[in-house]
Amino acid sequence: MAVLVQQADFDLAQELAQLGGADGSAGAVISFTGLVRGDSDLHALELEHYPAMTSAALEQIEQAARKRWGLIDVRIIHRFGKLELGQQIMMVAVSAPHRRAAFEAADYIMDYLKSRAPFWKKEHSTQGTAWVDAKPEDEDDLARWT
């Protein structure tokens, strides 16, 4: 179990190697990685966050998922700062006894990170800068889990 909030990049392979469950307790491991995607003129994404709150918010999401699906292990890394096109923004890795639990838990964690983790994204493009708006669907996504 680990939740990391950092400016530095991370090595997904190293994180997966540290994920618990390789002893035969896990039947399923899922990793999700979010990358800076380049729509039209975008060349960078700037992530602002609320340092006093971020880790606690991520840990709360992680604990809720771990409890609900009986996960073996969870690792979450979320970066902040200015990230270039194609760079890694964040990752979630989960291990579980069974496939369905792993999928649902990873999906749940992503939905909550999206709308309940105190990060804000600003796009830097040839047109200037613009804050990314939350989508109405993001809240609908959360409703899937209640």
Binding site: G34, E48, H49, Y50, A52, M53, A56, A57, H78, I89, M90, M110, L113, K114, S115, R116, A117, P118, F119, W120, K121, K122, W131, V132, D133, A134, D138
Partner: protein, 83 residues
């Protein structure tokens, strides 16, 4: 009471400060917002559409009805866009 009020994303930009100490007797978040809006136009503008504003009291997401007794930090920000 002395509150540390913090702002993020476009709220920070509109208000022009990442944080400030506010001396207030506001009972709730809504009261605090009312007070701030009377201060200067940049505050009034920043809080003009409350549907676009979220609040955390002492690093816990809450709503505008939340009481401020014993609160030390109030954060205002737009809906989060993590992940």
């Amino acid at each position: 009471m002395n509150l540390n009020v913090v702002y993020f994303a476009w709220l920070r930009e509109r208000i022009g400060e990442p944080s400030e100490m506010v001396e207030t007797n506001a009972a709730t978040v809504a009261d605090l917002i009312k007070e701030l809006r009377t201060r200067e136009e940049r505050y009034d503008l920043a809080f003009s559409d409350l549907d676009a504003v979220r609040v955390a009291v002492d690093q816990t997401l809450t709503d505008f009805d939340a009481p401020l007794d014993n609160a030390r930090e109030v954060a205002f920000f737009p809906p989060m866009t993590g992940g």
